[in-house]
């Protein structure tokens, strides 16, 4: 009886068109040490506390609809990541940002954002490249040496098994700041098809170039940009809403 009523109520619910708010966010401090699932849960709770009219997924166990551009590894900070938040109605971007920041834990922050049309491509599928800033002693010299190789083979976990993989062709660009002798920025392929995780890069350096493992473990890694488009015509994801 009860169940039938609920079914009827569900089908009567007017079909809503989602308003997709694409936000750029940063994370620093202690909260960098949580995994992707925990980060998603944290975002959900912030949105609930901020009382955004979030759209929930249908089905057995409805969840707030949210899509992240690219999972962030444990220990990786970011100054430029993206999330799509699906809302039932449009709310002013400035209000979303300020309310989110009011209700979010230390270290997490929405920086900017805007609405994207609901027929624009999925955020995850758009991502093609990422830039990581890595601060660690002598990282420049070692990176140079590593990238002189024609082939960089590393052991990579895929579907539970360790497999050897070639990563040399995942590197797109390397840059460095004069003022920071012990840091480097690498731009690499990213996304669901081909992706280089920064820890794999550090791992390769330690395996192949004998980069000291204590430095490898303590390297400060920050994702500083996410791009769409094909190299060399990369465009920042923020293009999609601005």
């Amino acid at each position: 009886m009860l169940e039938n009523e609920r079914q009827i109520a569900m089908t009567m619910k007017p079909h809503r068109v989602a308003q997709i708010f694409r936000a750029r966010f940063a994370r620093t401090a202690g909260i960098v040490y949580i995994g992707h699932l925990d980060l998603m849960r944290t975002f959900e709770r912030v949105c609930r506390r901020a009382e955004f009219p979030i759209l929930y997924s249908q089905g057995y166990n409805p969840r707030p609809s949210m899509v992240f551009a690219l999972p962030l590894g444990v220990g990786v900070a970011t100054t430029s990541d993206y999330v799509d938040i699906f809302l039932e109605e449009r709310i002013d971007a400035a209000i979303i940002i300020s309310r989110f920041n009011q209700f979010c834990p230390n270290g997490l922050r929405l920086l900017e954002g805007g609405y994207v049309s609901s027929d624009s491509g999925s955020l995850m599928a758009e991502v093609s490249a990422a830039t990581y800033h890595i601060a660690s002693p002598n990282i420049r010299e070692y990176t140079e040496k590593l990238l002189q190789r024609d082939s960089i083979m590393v052991m990579k976990r895929s579907k539970g098994k360790m497999k050897e993989a070639e990563i040399r062709d995942l590197f797109l660009e390397v840059s460095q700041e004069e003022s920071e002798p012990h840091s480097i920025s690498i731009t690499v392929l990213a996304g669901s098809s081909r992706n280089l995780r920064p820890d794999l890069f550090l791992e390769a350096m330690s395996e192949l170039e004998a980069y000291p493992s204590i430095d490898k473990d303590n390297a400060m890694v920050t994702r500083t940009a996410l791009f769409m488009g094909e190299y060399p015509h990369l465009e920042p994801l923020s293009k999609t809403y601005s």
Partner: protein, 636 residues
């Protein structure tokens, strides 16, 4: 990560954090965390602070500690006091423990990463006996001596509270003082004393720890272990419990909150970043339970029953949901169905919560047609498993333990549930209860079989063909606990329990029934700790030194090693466990007063042996003694 270099801070590198399981356990910074900025300023600028620094310690890992309601309550109560800064510290898991020892890093609080030695008070919340050795771990990692008598005036004051402190004797001498009962009021009073104590340290006449304890011992609910000594007979039983100072009361009475509407409840608790064991917000309905199950310590030590008013409850429920962002609110009490305004409460809460995609979870619900409808309402279309705890297999034995649930109750509610589409049922029982015979053990199988048969009958009748029930029977080993009518009972032996398990497993064989049981060795050790006396402290510290801790974790608990340590101290397991005590015997907790009289417990024990039940006290007072608190159900 912090710019305040002048603040004494335990530094962990990125490599350290990434080398351990779930580093989120150690970083703090969660929503709802409280850091007193004025205290930070003082520390930074003056290197010292006028704030009373209280480290709230839980001797288990983050995910367990953060699931505990008492922790949330105390964190709020303490931080709401002006001039008090309460921070959290938990047991680091083995990987972090090793790392800290290797690098000589002290244990720290999550809020400011300060070492525990920097605090004025370390307050341990003790929820289960098996965590005792982790108290040593936390003190050890902080370089603090285990025994109160070995600590100096400059060491932190180490205190404890929680449900196991009603018999804290095995580790009583660790603590300067112990809070018996509910902490909200007495902790605030103690903090007032601490402020005087701390302020006096800056004067010419600093107050001594001894005088602090003397003042504190005047507060109701404060037990100072060093004021009591225990003398033993040659057979190991207690000869006398003596007071060592003239101002020590003969017995120390637990403290309770008379009106739950008048104390603050944490509606804005810390919301962990990472998934914890009970990942939901908690709403407390009432304290105490009037059913009087004779094996249940909580049923006696929390007396009398005191309810929160529905107004308070609903207000707190809304606040909690809004402030935390949790999508599940769990109600908490010893027996949800006994809350007098439960239907009204649910009428008010369920719909607005559902609109916000928030669910209510209702554990310890007695099942009847009303509650089934309820469960459907609160959990939507999800048909999760149903749980029953008949505890014993025959009506005779259920009468002995005063578990007021009949087989017919179970069958009639299951009939409704099966017809409504439920198919998963969990049945909880205890083995080794006083007076138990094989007939009682086989009675468990009979119930499970009846449930199985009932399912198919209902399925046929309702045309639910080809469906199968999933029945799980789970047994645990009965553990006699202090302050229950069974506190004098002998615990069954492992050998006898194994036989019973074997017989039961045989009788339960069916494709639709799964049988699971708790580890017996853990239960035997828990029984020893539960009724232990002060002679166990040497055993426990000795075992800890040999690497025995995290006993609450099955894969860490090393029973044989513990037995060896116990025997090396000339003590035997059977003395504490498999021995029944006489009425005249002095029990290690006889100087503790929970309000319920020992004579009442003994009377209840006699009733048990006569297989006579005692009705819940909301139908009429049984004169247990708790009426002296002048509140709750006793005065309804």
């Amino acid at each position: 990560m912090n710019e305040n270099n002048s603040i004494h801070r335990v530094e962990l590198s990125r490599g350290d954090l990434l080398s351990v399981e779930n580093p989120a356990r150690y970083v703090g910074g969660e929503w709802g965390e409280v850091i007193k900025s004025e205290m930070l300023r003082q520390l930074r600028e003056e290197g010292t602070t006028s704030y009373l620094r209280f480290a709230l310690c839980f001797p288990d890992i983050y995910e367990i500690a953060m699931s505990n309601l008492a922790m949330k309550i105390l964190y709020k109560i303490l931080n709401d006091i002006d001039g008090v800064a309460c921070e959290r510290a938990f047991s680091p898991w083995k990987d972090m423990d090793r790392l800290m020892r290797d690098k000589a890093l002290p244990l720290f609080t999550l809020e400011t990463r300060s070492p525990l030695n920097d605090f004025d008070v370390l307050g341990f919340s003790l929820q289960y006996e098996m965590c005792f050795t982790n108290v040593f771990q936390m003190l050890d990692l902080s370089g603090i001596s285990f025994r109160a008598s070995e600590r100096s005036e400059s060491d932190p004051i180490v205190v404890a509270g929680g449900p196991v402190v009603y018999n804290i004797e095995p580790i009583a001498e660790v603590f300067d003082l112990v809070f018996l009962g509910e902490g909200e009021e007495v902790l605030a009073e103690f903090m007032d004393l601490m402020k005087i104590y701390k302020a006096s340290a800056r004067t010419n006449e600093p107050m001594s720890k001894a005088s602090l304890l003397k003042e504190a011992s005047k507060l109701e609910g404060v037990y100072v272990p060093s004021y009591y000594s225990m003398d033993y007979n040659t057979d190991g039983t207690i000869k006398s419990i003596d007071t060592l100072v003239e101002w020590a009361p003969k017995s120390v009475r637990k403290r309770i909150i008379s009106n739950l509407d008048c104390v603050d409840f944490p509606t804005n608790p810390v919301v962990p970043h990472t998934k914890i064991v009970h990942d939901r917000a908690y709403l407390e309905l009432f304290r105490g339970c009037s059913r009087g199950c004779r094996f249940c310590q909580a049923g006696y030590v929390y007396r009398p029953v005191r309810e929160k008013s529905i107004e308070t409850l609903c207000g707190q429920g809304y606040e909690l949901e809004a402030a935390t962002g949790y999508d599940e609110i769990g109600v908490l009490s010893l027996s949800t169905s006994d809350y007098s305004s439960l239907p009204e409460f649910l009428d008010i809460m369920v719909e607005p919560f559902a609109d916000r995609h928030t669910s209510l979870s209702l554990p310890s619900l007695r099942l009847d047609s009303f509650s089934l409808e309820l469960m459907e309402k609160v959990s939507g279309t999800r048909k999760t498993g149903l749980t029953f705890a008949p505890e014993a297999g025959t009506q005779r034995l259920r009468d002995v333990i005063n578990k007021g649930i009949t087989e017919e109750d179970i069958m009639s509610s299951l009939e409704l549930a099966f017809a409504g589409g439920w198919q998963r049922v969990k049945l909880y029982f205890m083995l080794g209860l006083p007076t138990e015979t094989m007939e009682d053990v086989l009675g468990i199988a009979q119930i499970a079989r009846r449930v199985e048969k009932l399912f198919f009958e209902v399925a046929n009748r309702e045309g639910l063909k080809r469906r199968k029930p999933e029945i799980v029977v789970s047994t645990s080993m009965f553990i006699p606990k202090p302050f229950t009518p069974f506190q004098w009972e002998a615990q069954d032996t492992i050998e006898s329990l194994r036989d019973k398990q074997k017989v039961l497993a045989e009788a339960l064989k069916s494709r639709n029934i799964k049988y699971s049981w708790h580890d017996l060795k853990t239960s035997v050790w828990e029984a020893l700790l539960a009724r232990g006396d002060r002679r166990l402290l040497d055993v426990l510290t000795d075992g800890y030194r040999q690497g025995l801790y995290f006993d609450a974790w099955d894969d860490c608990f090393r029973y044989e090693d513990w037995l060896r340590v116990l025997e090396s101290h000339g003590l035997s397991l059977d003395f504490f466990g498999a021995r029944s005590r006489g009425e005249e015997e002095i029990l290690p907790w006889d100087h503790i007063d929970i309000g319920v009289r020992k004579s009442y417990l003994f009377h209840e024990r006699a009733m048990a042996y006569q297989e006579k039940t005692t009705a819940p006290c909301h139908g009429g007072c049984r004169a247990c003694g708790a009426a002296e608190y002048n509140t709750g159900v006793c005065h309804a």
